[in-house]
Structure formats: structure tokens, C-alpha cells
């Protein structure tokens, strides 16, 4: 076994294993009572599979700790996505674009969730699952026709997430996680002839977020 192999493979592996075994820093924080709650504020990026590119997202999770490894509660988030249809202005040597149409999308889930922490050490792998309702507000502007429309879609949806937390103190934890959002949000549109059309928007997508989690009792 060469020293280079040891330095590149074995040492990082041992460091990772030891960090799982290391207890959380015993900071002089006040001890928590039996009823522990926590709140997480997070932010990141969300990329719908059918959309073009990622969009910023921010969220909050509020939950009760049923045991050192199991917590459950509610979470909500807000993702904003602006998509534009543009065309070159046509001027020679100019890179400027003219906006032909624009669609603003606001996606808001409100879900109940369960989360499992695999350890209570410094490095905390975790995963969770949420089910609830999700709303999508689309605001479209078509500058070619002057048409403007607001539409709201809603339906049951779900999320699953997994990541790793850094237990900085007994109270504070920093979480980094990947998540998947699944749902087909719908609305009914009544036509002038009295018939009802159903429209759906697929909001399946993946996201990445970093959160600051605070425990309290």
C-alpha cells in the first residue's frame, strides 16, 4: 500500500468514519427539556423537470422531536421562476434582445412531514418524506398580443429529501439536502359554451437547499 494511496483514500475515509463517531460539541448551551421542537430556515435552488433551468427557493420547517431520531411537523416553501421569450432586435453588431413574452411562476407547497436522523453525532445523515397540498400561480404576459393572464393550479403533492447535517451545538444544526418534488397541479376552466376544460402543470423536479435548524423547548 503506497503512501500516496493511504493519503488519498484511507485518510479521508478514516476521517469520515471518525466524524460519524465524534459526539456533538458539548457547547455550554442550556439543556433542552423533554418536549423538543425545532425550526429550520432554508434556501436553495429548485429545477422543474419540464421547466428551463433552476429557480431560487426559500422555505421553513417546523417540527416536534418525537425521539432523538424521529421528528415530524409541517413545512412550507416558496419557489419563484421567471421565464422569458426573447428575440434579437436585429441591429448589426448588437446583442440586445426584445422581450416577446414572460411567465412568472410562484410555487408554494404546504405539507406534513416525517424526518429520520440516523445518528445524534456531529455528522447527521437524515431523510424525510412529506405529503400535502401545493399551489402554483402563473402570471403570463404576451407582449405580442397584449394578452395577460393569471392562473392558479393546485393539487395534492409530495416531497422526499435526504441530506447531511452538521450538529454545531446542541441547539444549532446546518443541513444540506437534496429533494424531489412530485405533483401534477390542476385547474378547471369553464368555457363559453358551458363545458369544463381541465388543465394540468407538471411540477416534478429536483432541488438543492441549505438550512439552519434551531432546537428549542
Amino acid at each position: 500500500m503506497s503512501p500516496r494511496f493511504v493519503a488519498r483514500r484511507i485518510v479521508p475515509l478514516l476521517t469520515l468514519c471518525l466524524s460519524f463517531a465524534a459526539p456533538a460539541f458539548a457547547a455550554p448551551a442550556p439543556a433542552l427539556g423533554p418536549n423538543v421542537w425545532s425550526m429550520q430556515l432554508d434556501g436553495g435552488l429548485y429545477a422543474p423537470v419540464q421547466g428551463s433551468g433552476a429557480s431560487p427557493t426559500a422555505g421553513v420547517r417546523y417540527c416536534k422531536h418525537f425521539s432523538p431520531h424521529l421528528q415530524g411537523g409541517m413545512f412550507s416553501a416558496w419557489s419563484f421562476k421567471r421565464a422569458k421569450l426573447e428575440a434579437p432586435t436585429g441591429g448589426q453588431g448588437s446583442d440586445s434582445q426584445v422581450e416577446l413574452a414572460r411567465v412568472d411562476a410562484n410555487l408554494v407547497p404546504l405539507m406534513g412531514f416525517l424526518q429520520v436522523d440516523f445518528t445524534d453525532r456531529f455528522l447527521v445523515p437524515f431523510f424525510g418524506f412529506g405529503v400535502g397540498y401545493e399551489w402554483l400561480m402563473l402570471h403570463s404576459f404576451d407582449h405580442r398580443t397584449g394578452a395577460q393572464e393569471k392562473a392558479r393550479y393546485a393539487n395534492l403533492a409530495w416531497q422526499t429529501f435526504a441530506g447531511v447535517g452538521l450538529q454545531i451545538t446542541t441547539i444549532w444544526r446546518v443541513n444540506g439536502e437534496l429533494y424531489y418534488n412530485g405533483g401534477s397541479l390542476e385547474r378547471e376552466v369553464r368555457q363559453p359554451d358551458g363545458t369544463v376544460q381541465r388543465q394540468a402543470v407538471d411540477v416534478n423536479g429536483v432541488g438543492l437547499r441549505v438550512g439552519l435548524d434551531m432546537k428549542f423547548d
Binding site: H69, L70, K81, L114, D117, F118, A151, S184, Q197, V201
Partner: protein, 257 residues
Amino acid sequence: MLHRKRGSSTPSQGVRFHLFLASWLMVAGGLSAPARASTPPDDLLAQNTQPARDSVGAPPVQRYIPAAPALAAKPKANSIHLSGGLFAPIETNAPSPMVGIRLGRRLGAHLQGGFLVDWVFERKNVEQPTNTLPGLQPQLILARASGSLVPVMAFFEVSLTEKRFLVPYGGIAAGYEWLSLKADDFVTGESASATYANYAWQGWGGMGIRLDQGLRVDFELSYNGGSLERDAPNSNGLREAVRVNGVGARVGLDIRY
């Protein structure tokens, strides 16, 4: 008296005393390890500590008052298992999402029995775009077909260990199963539905990760077997059948209470 003559390989008196001391420490440490593992966390200890009142004028001394032994010794007899995953019928090869719940009660050291309910759901739309705007694209739903598979069964599950971190387990269930199919054509306004039912069975095996005495994370593969039937409409007693044989993979939480 006869004494064995101490040779060059025989340890001296001091070395033997230190070996004896070290072995005692190892034995004592090993015996106390399970006790420490079952000791309640610090915050629970803090609840059960009260200042002693037998020393006047002295600073209060924290004294641990143990909880009621009946509460500490009582095993958790019931369990609820929440799971989610995918189910793929063999004849259609289309994985569908599934969720399930198992309510069990311990019947022995490694055996539990109870009831389970699952729900496998799949929905397919025929769609067309509504506009050419960028971003998330609304689709007009022209037609929709959806199906729900719901087994309700009694089960037995065997865990090969109740103490280790990794818990291999397997189970078998038998009961009744329903398949509900529904199709809507939103262009013509037509719709149709059918419900099939019959006896069915399930088997599963997996590996659990025990996080504490009351919580386990399970990863399992399952098999569902059944041929669900109904009376064919306008067919003079003929029967229609749908085979729902298929495999599933699911992740679950086993919570004891």
C-alpha cells in the same frame, strides 16, 4: 509445598497484578456498557434530580431519583409501520408509487402479527399544450385513466434479531385485494369504471436499521400475488380477471409504542 518454578517467560508479580487489574476493568466496562446504553438521556435525568434537603446551609446536592420501575421495564408491545415505495406489476412493467401501513402487535420475542393496508396508485393523462409561452407549460387534459390497488391483509413478520443494529426480517400476509380502474374522456364526456377483487397474498423480506429501541428504518422487497376478478358485463356469467402479480421495493419506518 510445591511451587512452580518461575521461568524466563513467566510474568513477574507486578506484571500479573496489572494484568489482573486490566482484566477486571475490561469485564466491568463490558458489563456496564448495556446499562449505559439503556440509561435515559441527560435531560431526563435532569427531570428526576432534586436538591437534597438533609444538609442545612450547604449548597444543594443533586440526587438522582429513579423513575418508576414499571414504566422502565415495560416492553413496547405494539408497532406501526409506515412505508412508501414503488410497485411494478409483472404484466405491465410500469412502476407505480405506493404507500402502506402495518399495525402489528408482538406475539413473541421475534414474532409479530397484525393487519396491513397498502395503496398503489397510477394515473395517466392524454394531454396537449395550451400555449407556446416559455416556462412551466400548462397542458390541456383530453383523457385520463387511473387505477388504485388496495390490499387489506393479516400478516405475520419474523425478525431474526431484536438486539443488533441490523435487523433482517421477513413476513407473509394473506387477505383481500381490490383493483379499481377508471377512465374519463373529457372531450366526449364519456367515462367508465370497473372494480376487481379477490383473495391475494404478499410476502416480503428486508433489512432494518435499528436507531433506538422504538424506531427502525426498514428497506424491503415485496411480492404481491393475486388474480382479481369481476363479473363481465352482459356476458351471462363469464368472469373477467386481472393479474396483479408484481414486485415492489419500499422504505419504511417501524415505530414501537
